[in-house]
């Protein structure tokens, strides 16, 4: 029996679906073998090394673990704010924060949003009416 020729993963393509799903979640992956979630969608499961990762919609809500407003960067016009968000289903995601710095605080409830106000086209904003 001949082994199939290994081919690379096209993980650097620009042709990707929007990060935010129509129902307000995050487009990620879930391992069909062990159930581990991933964002962005993994192609090899870091937990069990299976390769059957299925697209899934991850929770778009989470808690802002920490944040900063960046004043020097070659990536995007400054200032912009970034934060690590612990999603309700356990993943940590770095994203742009669509909010004034004065609104931001550790442990603030946030939700994902698709918006042109973020240079990446998506980000997290504080859940309205809720403070940390």
């Amino acid at each position: 029996m001949t082994e199939p020729v290994l081919m690379p993963v096209a993980d650097a393509t620009e042709d990707r679906p929007p990060v935010v799903t129509d129902d307000g979640g995050l487009r990620g992956g879930r391992c069909a073998s062990c159930g581990a979630g991933s964002f962005p969608q993994a192609y090899i499961c870091p937990t069990c090394n299976a390769t059957d990762i299925q697209p899934t919609t991850l929770s778009g809500e989470g808690s802002l673990y920490s944040w900063t407003t960046v004043h020097i960067s070659a990536s995007f016009p400054t200032p912009y704010s970034l934060g690590y968000v612990d999603l309700a289903d356990g993943l940590r995601v770095l994203g742009q924060l669509v909010a004034e710095p004065a609104e931001l605080a550790c442990d603030l409830p946030v939700q994902v949003v698709a918006t042109d106000a973020s240079p990446t086209g998506w980000g997290f904003r504080p859940v309205e009416g809720v403070s940390a």
Binding site: H71, S75, Y84, G90, D107
Partner: protein, 386 residues
Amino acid sequence: MSITATTSATVVGGAMIKMGKHRTSSYSGLAAPAALGALHDAGITKADVQAVFCGHAFGGMLTGQRIVKELGIGDVPVTNIDNACSGGATAVHAAVRAIEDGHVDVALVIGVDKLTQFGGGTLPLVKEDPEVQQGIVMPAVYAMRAQRFLHERDATVEDLAEVAVKARRHGAANPYAQFQSEVTVDEVLASRPIADPLTLMQCCPTGDGAAAVVVMSEAARRRSGLGGMRAAASVLHSGQFEAGFRDMLWPEISSHSARDAYEAAGIGPEDLDVVELHDAFTIAELVYYEALGLTERGGAVDLLRSGRTTYGGDVVVNPSGGLLSKGHPVGASGVAQVVEALWHLSDRAGARQVDDARWAMTHVTGGGIAGLDHGACTIHLFERAS
């Protein structure tokens, strides 16, 4: 995981150039003087060098060979090593291993980088990384650590600033530092914002630099009648990917590396006299106090305020002034720390000498990768040679 418990590798000579903005120097121009200086300091010649290890991140192909050809060193194996901020220390680690393995008696280690080639700003990161695509920069990584630190701890931005004040006070006595002037808490906090809550003076400056050491087997050292210091531990760890929650105040890569280093050397943090740790940003020093075991978890601010980590205290942290005073030419920093340790352990540190220093730790960790605390961490423990 890569752990080396060493009893027979020693550092017998070292040199560095003054750190700073050396726009008119090439990588060779930066590093060749340090390499020659290290050979002179060790009392050996190029003919004694059996292997060369060169740590750098941005030098391009064959940086090590480009440097040592200026000294007429060839034929022997030259290995170029990139491990971001740990590249230079990883080169030291590789040299120690080569000596432990027994196929090399004398190795030359070079660390070098030239950051002014990028014209200023933050360290260029690899755009393939998903967090880099979101706009992460190294100051933002540390800023988020700082923000969480302020949230969880009884700490203020003044405490962060005090780290820079201490570093600059130490650096003022170091002729090799880029900054040789003291600053106040008010000046630190009034400097321009970089990534909140970190201000400019809480970030290591852009710079160029090079350092070199000669690593020798204990047998060769004794034959040569040289002093120097014994590498009691040489530890290299890589970051472990985590898709979910990570405690940004507890960098497991540094704590695991320290644990393994203490175990290999048979000492504990209470035995250390000098520590050169990776203070790329003020918050880093506070977080690493705990990860390296210099205090218990939660004790970082009290340790800093106590004065125990400056002159007159029981462990002087960053007597060189650290990266906050020297700058952080990525690949050079880990080797420069080892040179600083050598100077203290052989009573050659001049005005900044830590009296009666017997044990020194050097610690570098770095690289921004999504899902990892850092990409690499290298810790060495050195004991004054008897």
